[in-house]
Amino acid sequence: MRVEVDLEKCVGAGQCVLAADDVFDQREEDGLVDLLDASPPEARSADVRHAAAVCPAAAILVRD
């Protein structure tokens, strides 16, 4: 599983951090998304997909 984030779209809502804080964080300086793990293990799939689904800016892309 590959994860991509779009900083142009990100609004810093922090929804992804709540969904999967081992994969996403927010940068201290502007609160925008900080991708910690671009290829998380398959076991994290459900939470990572949930993070993409709840992102209010559709800034997270998940590829198999």
Binding site: A13, G14, Q26, D30, H50, A57
Partner: protein, 406 residues
């Protein structure tokens, strides 16, 4: 344009604070974008289906400003979400600057770090309520004034750098500003709130601290394009939204849990394991206020077979969208275990609630602590007898509860 006689009049009357007008179900199916007359008497579009509400919230062709503000439809006589705000020409850039300034202070990580502090506050409020309960002849205490109100107030004061001792003043001003039944007085309250905030800003200016209002004062003084009045409006908005919304959400959440015993018992059986899902279901179903989020079309747009003109007002019904049967199975049921895990309770798109992580953390701490400490909690009045607030943000004015001492 259809004639005034064909338009629905908002608000649609609801049976009680937990249920919505049954007409929403018909509208979602048959007229998901329908012409209405606002409580202020002006024309607008009411959007009720999840798909369109979500789409419009994420579409930059709809904003909070208006090309000709003086001609814009007004929504209510309250002084919050009543009409257009901001400059039409610079709205997107102004909004981006605001988000950039505020987002770090309200990040998920920082809010989580505050959870222990919140829990300490909540335990203190509960200690006081328990003592009051034990000393009271009928054993009834008010969770609204004793818990639902003080926690969000204390937290937003801490984050913004507002003296908590001012809470009676700004609490009263917030209440009047959002009141939909007092006409012009709501706008007077808004002006008083602005004067209070200007006083606070100028008191803080010589000794800026580590808080959000200090950050905004710094940013405004360093940026010639950042208007002073705009900054004050943002500070007022943060202080207002930072407590009004969560106070009401705690109240409605508790009513959902206590009006059907099995819901409360499920949480009590496993507070730490269940609280997150319970909070999300409270965010989905809780419907404070009868209207929705306000937008104005920035250009002509055709959507779902409806032609919306530049400058038209739209009321996006979050309440209706969150109960859409096309998205949620058995949508009216309070079911924290439902498979659908998303909702529009914090909005969507560029204006997504900046305080979402703060509110979630507060709600989780409150409901986990209540379930741990007061498992026998029950309402001391029927739902229909509770005093309801006549404000745009809705909710109840009291939460009389009791429990059997162990």
């Amino acid at each position: 344009m259809s004639t005034a006689t064909e338009r629905l009049q908002l608000p649609l009357p609801r049976p009680n604070v937990l249920e919505l007008a049954p007409l929403y179900e018909v509208l979602r199916r048959e007229a998901p974008i329908t012409p209405v007359t606002t409580p202020a008497g002006d024309p607008a579009w009411l959007v009720t289906r999840h798909e369109e509400v979500r789409l419009l919230l994420g579409d930059k062709r709809f904003g909070r400003s208006h090309p000709e503000p003086e001609r814009a439809s007004r929504i209510t006589t309250a002084a919050v979400q009543d009409g257009p705000t901001g400059e039409y020409e610079t709205e997107e850039a102004d909004h981006a600057r605001m988000r950039r300034l505020l987002t770090p202070a309200f990040s998920a990580k920082r809010m989580r770090m505050l959870a222990d502090h919140m829990d300490g506050l909540v335990q203190g409020y509960l200690d006081r309520l328990v003592a009051e309960h034990d000393a009271s002849p009928d054993g009834v205490v008010d969770l609204h004034s004793g818990l639902a109100y003080p926690l969000p107030v204390a937290m937003i004061c801490l984050l913004l750098g507002v003296p908590e001792s001012d809470h009676e003043l700004f609490g009263r001003l917030s209440e009047r500003m959002a009141n939909t039944t007092i006409g012009e007085e709501a706008h007077q309250a808004r002006e008083e709130f602005f004067r209070y905030m200007i006083g606070l800003v100028e008191t803080k200016r010589p000794q800026l601290g580590e808080d959000v209002i200090s950050d905004l004062i710094r940013a405004q003084s360093e940026d010639a394009s950042y208007d002073y009045a705009e900054m004050v409006r943002l500070c007022v908005g943060l202080l207002f939204a930072g407590h009004e919304t969560t106070v009401n959400r705690i109240g409605l959440g508790l009513l959902f849990l206590l009006t059907e015993r099995s819901r409360w018992e499920a949480l009590v059986a496993d507070p730490d394991g269940r609280v997150d899902a319970v909070v999300e279901e409270i965010m989905r179903l809780g419907a404070p206020g009868d209207l929705g989020l306000l937008r104005y079309a920035r250009e002509d747009v055709s959507i779902a077979g409806v032609d919306i003109r530049r400058g038209d007002a739209l009321v996006l019904s979050i309440n209706a969208a969150n109960r859409d049967a096309e998205v949620y199975s058995d949508p009216e049921a309070f079911n924290p275990d439902r498979p659908e895990r998303t909702h529009l309770g914090f909005g969507h798109g560029a204006h997504f609630c900046i305080g979402a992580s703060l509110a979630r953390t507060e709600l989780r701490v409150v409901f986990a602590a209540l379930a741990h400490r007061l498992p026998g909690l029950r309402l001391a009045k029927d739902l229909d007898q509770l005093r309801v607030r006549t404000t745009l943000t809705g909710g109840v004015a009291e939460l009389p509860v009791t429990w059997r001492s162990r």
